[in-house]
Symmetry: C2
């Protein structure tokens, strides 16, 4: 069911500094993109096999503000696995006793596709997003 790692999201306190750092290491770095409906500004680092998303809070109530309060230097925020069928993912997570964040239903994610997040306490402490491709 899990097919590919879509991206690794890293919350960063300074987007320009983080982007410059990856650029100096020879990675392909996008311009910052504001996603106001998701409360983040994102810089995409395109690698040969997957991508890194550098996230910075945008506006009030950003979902990563609390993470940066706890981790002022930044840190790895979540992984996103691609799945063929989000309903199947939801069912399998339930069978494994893994809770889903929010109201338990898939939402439209930052890439415009159906997503859900598993509860880190039920998933080895890692925040994992599942995205239907």
């Amino acid at each position: 069911m899990i097919t590919r790692l879509n991206h690794v999201a890293i919350a960063v306190p300074d987007l320009a500094e983080a982007a410059a750092c990856y650029e100096a290491l020879g990675a392909k770095v996008s311009e910052p993109q504001n996603l106001p409906e998701h409360g983040v500004t994102v810089v995409f680092i395109t690698l040969d096999n997957t991508k890194i998303e550098l996230l910075h809070p945008l506006g009030d109530g950003s979902p990563i503000t609390g993470f940066l309060d706890k981790n002022p230097s930044g840190g790895i925020h979540h992984l996103c696995f691609e799945v063929e069928d989000i309903a199947d993912a939801l069912a399998r997570l339930g069978e494994c006793g893994i809770r889903v964040l929010g109201d338990g239903k898939p939402k439209t994610g930052a890439h415009g596709k159906p997503v859900l997040f598993a509860h880190p306490k039920d998933f080895q402490g890692a925040l994992i997003e599942f995205e239907q491709e």
Copy 2:
């Protein structure tokens, strides 16, 4: 210089439970492998484009014991980027003012290849391994 994401390492308190969880989600899961010289037991999750390494401490002085003490549920421990030339990676990190852990020289990593780790404080709070392919 950075080419691919080689793996994401997740430190887990219970390797069998974590492996069963990924298996139930339809991922390809290896048998546990002891790497005594690196102080870890590893289960590999093979995805279509990269891999996840589930790490559990092995023996005294494991490099991930402290991490699990601080994060008892587990958590995302590090990312590993592939590079063409580890000496070039070391030079570029130095030019960016990014410190390298240990004595500052590449070591032989868990896959038998030259590696180095950048200091998380200098790299957006994320522990990043560079591995020469």
